[in-house]
Amino acid sequence: MLNYIKADCYRIRKERLSLVSLGLLIAFAILFAFLYREDHSNQVGQSLVMVWTTLLPLFFVTPAKIFLGEDLTNRTINNILVKSQNRLKVFTYKWLMTLVVTWLYILLALLLTAFAHQMFTGVASYQTVLAYILYQLPIYTVIASLCAFIFAFFDKIYQSYMVYIIIALLFDQLANLMIGMIFKTDALAPYLMFNQLSQVDIDRAYFTSTVLVAILFTVLYTVMAYMLFEKREFK
């Protein structure tokens, strides 16, 4: 797998694949830090994390596109499948890399915001930010898995973009509204993951039902994506 990592690093560098999204990520980090430049309170760490909750999942399309979408759409996946003759190995690598690079994006966005805020105010909030990252990680991971699953499911990158962005921006709000109106309950609210990102509380227990459902769905998306990948003919 080390060879695959070396090869993909080379391709990312040569094709400058994540340049635009990284540029935007840095720009937003500085912007958010600037917006909170007057806030010197102890709670600023939480605010700096929460301001990202709607926007950050949209960046997950970049790793999913680099490691899954492009290869599946352009059929370049066939080259590696022929040489390796091992679909499980190829899938495991691509899935793990999508998640790992997504985690790096999360770390970069939130720590950079904290760093920029420190530059503006002199207040260091890294400890709070890291605690929030730890608590949000299962939720971000299930969202990243959903994104990767969508890229593994659709034949065209633009279809994957469209479906994921619509889900990321609208699904939880619509689902909450519909369930509330039809069934008169908000029992599903703790499991609407995009909404739950902003509900994380680091003063509560780590393993809540939300986290357990997030882990369960991460496994489910992974298994479903592999079942698709195992049988799929890329042509």
């Binding site: 090869a7 040489k83 003919e233």
Partner: protein
């Protein structure tokens, strides 16, 4: 030559459609094998199974050794925004090839792309160049077995000739066993050692090129103003006649001159008569009939 692999009773269906029906054959080491068949005959399905890109429903592929494989299926698949060298470097890193630069230079030279501008992106390549790039990519680790699905599709005559030379070079100098599928029978005839002819998911003929020459016989083709009368007259001579449209085909037991004299004696007017060698194409079509 020992077998590189033996394929036994491979079957594959897509829903109710049977793409391969108990296909069996073997491929000898260092052989160039041609896979021939109409659209839907099952060639690409077979090639995809041999390349490990799809699974078979039943049957087995027995390998004499753990071989490395390279393949081009239908069209070249490359990263369009990278140059030839970048595409090859990416693949070399993926496979874990040491001394990448030397290997890349060697395969580029083999496929005749050493002269190409190193910064030129693959998306700006002509189809012929992309085909050659795909071959370079497939042979980067010098595989034991190379599978080429329609490698000359869309190439001009000089491109086809160059592709033929590349394939021969790979076999002769690198010992690579090659399986080629193509619709262009005349071209395959110049490249392969053996033909596997497929029809409706089955192998209908497995024949060495040397044996093929005895199957494709010379014949005399003639047409007259009254073919029925001519057929009867020629049958009286004991000749076996095959009717193909408005032409009569017969084996060259009598010379053209003898036939002309004989038919004139019978008051049958000849409109056309010539000596023809039947081609591989005729043989192939006769198998389908």
């Amino acid at each position: 030559m020992p077998n590189l692999l033996t394929i036994e009773h491979i079957s594959k269906s897509y829903g109710k459609q049977k793409a391969l029906d108990s296909v069996s054959f073997s491929i000898k080491k260092g052989e160039i094998l041609g896979l021939v068949g109409q659209n839907g005959a099952g060639k690409t399905t077979l090639i995809r199974i041999l390349s490990g890109l799809i699974s078979k429903d039943s049957g087995s592929v027995k390998q004499a050794q753990n071989y490395k494989i390279g393949s081009i299926i239908e069209a070249p698949v490359l990263y369009p925004n990278m140059s030839a060298v970048d595409n090859l470097t990416y693949a070399a890193l993926q496979i874990g090839i040491k001394e990448k630069e030397a290997r890349i230079a060697e395969v580029l030279s083999l496929v005749g792309l050493s002269h190409v501008d190193k910064k030129k992106k693959v998306k700006d390549f002509s189809l012929g160049m992309r085909q050659r790039m795909a071959i370079a990519l497939a042979i980067l680790d010098f595989p034991d077995f190379l599978v080429l699905d329609e490698p000359v599709n869309g190439l001009d005559p000089s491109g086809i000739k160059e592709m033929r030379e590349i394939i021969h070079n790979l076999r002769d100098n690198y010992g690579i066993t090659v399986l080629i599928s193509s619709h262009i029978l005349s071209e395959l005839e110049l490249v392969v050692d053996r033909f596997i002819i497929m029809h409706k998911g089955r192998i209908i003929k497995d024949i060495e090129k040397s044996a093929l020459s005895s199957q494709v016989e010379e014949k005399i083709v003639l047409s007259t103003l009254d073919n029925k009368l001519a057929q009867k007259a020629l049958s009286d001579l004991g000749l076996e006649i095959i009717v193909q449209g408005n032409k009569l085909c017969l084996s060259p037991e009598k010379s053209v001159q003898e036939l002309i004299l004989y038919l004139l004696e019978q008051n049958i007017d000849i409109t056309d008569i010539y000596h023809a060698g039947s081609s591989f194409e005729d043989y192939y079509l006769s198998l389908l009939d």
